[in-house]
């Protein structure tokens, strides 16, 4: 099925995108829907993008639900593993 649901979040940072070039990302879109490439019926998809630079300024990730949860756990663990003053603000 197509879920259509899209969760959006502002982000600040950089990503390595088309042609191996780094670019500043400003927007994230997260949705659980059909993947373009991953061999699964549905995946947790993350688009890290810079819409001001056009639709091709995007890094796309498609993860199975299980691996997406593992990624969330890993991100939280990495953030928790350092002194809070490093991750404040």
């Amino acid at each position: 099925m197509c879920t259509y649901t899209t969760i959006q979040a502002p982000v600040s940072g950089s990503a390595k995108g088309p042609n191996g070039a780094w670019f500043r990302v400003t927007d994230a879109a997260v949705y659980f829907d059909h993947p373009v490439h991953a061999p699964a019926e549905h995946t947790l998809n993350i688009d890290l993008a810079a819409p001001a630079q056009g639709p091709c300024a995007r890094v796309a990730i498609e993860l199975t639900a299980e691996s997406a949860r593992e990624l969330v756990t890993a991100i939280n663990a990495a953030l928790a593993a350092v002194p809070p003053e490093l991750t404040a603000g």
Binding site: Y4, A40, E41, D47, C56, R58
Partner: protein
């Protein structure tokens, strides 16, 4: 039929006369024939959709797929274009109707046209095919598992759509619907609701529902592909268009 066909990318007049990109395929013989507008699914104007356009040419039709994301992401990779449009909440129904009308007009302007044009869409394109069949002068429509033709669109739904219950009395042409009984978008109950409305309104329709199939069972490049349902579905499509898009079509 020689079996020869050609395919190309061209520009047509879309909604409001605005130029948009389209993928067009046609048989190489000069016989009069019907046309098919292929509405691409939400993932975009992609290779799988273009393969369908060529398949309709192989079946003997002039076929065209307007790039519904031409305005938002001209020239972009289909997956990038789809992501950009998704983030913007999709395209409007008004734009879709205008683009399909432009594509149908292009097909009817071909020297080989017999004047009859059908429309087909899968997934989000299934709903859009029904919408187009309510708003545009078309001769046949095929809805492959389009969600929210009926049913209630959740208030926080990210796409700018409504269901089509109010438009269905205006359906202008016969409708072929194909659905997987394991689908959640649309559910079998929503398909029942659509069928009840079509019956009540005295519309000509033909539905086929497949056990063991869910959403996107026609998609050969996805795990959802169900060969038996898809093969039967293609035969139904060929017969349906053969009936309604021939010069003597009813």
């Amino acid at each position: 039929m020689s079996g020869e066909l050609s395919a190309t990318t061209l520009e047509i007049a879309g909604d409001g006369g605005e130029p948009i990109e389209a993928y067009y395929a046609r048989p190489e013989d000069g016989r009069p024939r019907g046309g098919v507008v292929v509405i691409h699914h939400m993932p975009g104007y992609d290779r799988a959709t273009k393969e369908m356009v060529r398949r309709f040419a192989e079946l003997g039709y002039d076929a065209i797929c307007p790039n519904l994301y031409s305005r938002q992401a001209p020239g972009a990779d289909p997956s990038d274009a789809a992501a950009a449009v998704r983030a913007q909440g999709g395209i409007t129904d008004a734009q879709l109707v205008g683009d399909v009308a432009g594509a149908a007009a292009y097909l009817r302007s071909r020297s080989t046209s017999n004047g009859r044009v059908g429309v087909i869409g899968h997934c989000s394109g299934g709903r859009q095919a029904v919408l187009a069949a309510c708003e545009v002068e078309l001769d046949a429509a095929v809805d492959c598992y389009g969600a929210y033709v009926t049913g209630t669109v959740p208030p926080d739904w990210p796409l700018k759509i409504t269901n089509l219950v109010d438009q269905l009395p205006s359906l202008r042409c016969p409708l072929l619907g194909m659905f997987g009984n394991d689908d959640k978008f649309p559910t079998p109950e929503q398909v029942d609701e659509l069928e009840a409305i079509l019956q009540r309104e005295g519309k000509t329709y033909e539905f086929h529902r497949y056990d063991g199939a869910g959403h996107a069972f026609f998609a050969v490049d996805r795990p959802s592909y169900r060969v038996e349902a898809a093969n039967d579905g293609w035969e139904r499509i060929a017969a349906f268009f053969g009936t309604h898009l021939s010069a003597s079509g009813s």
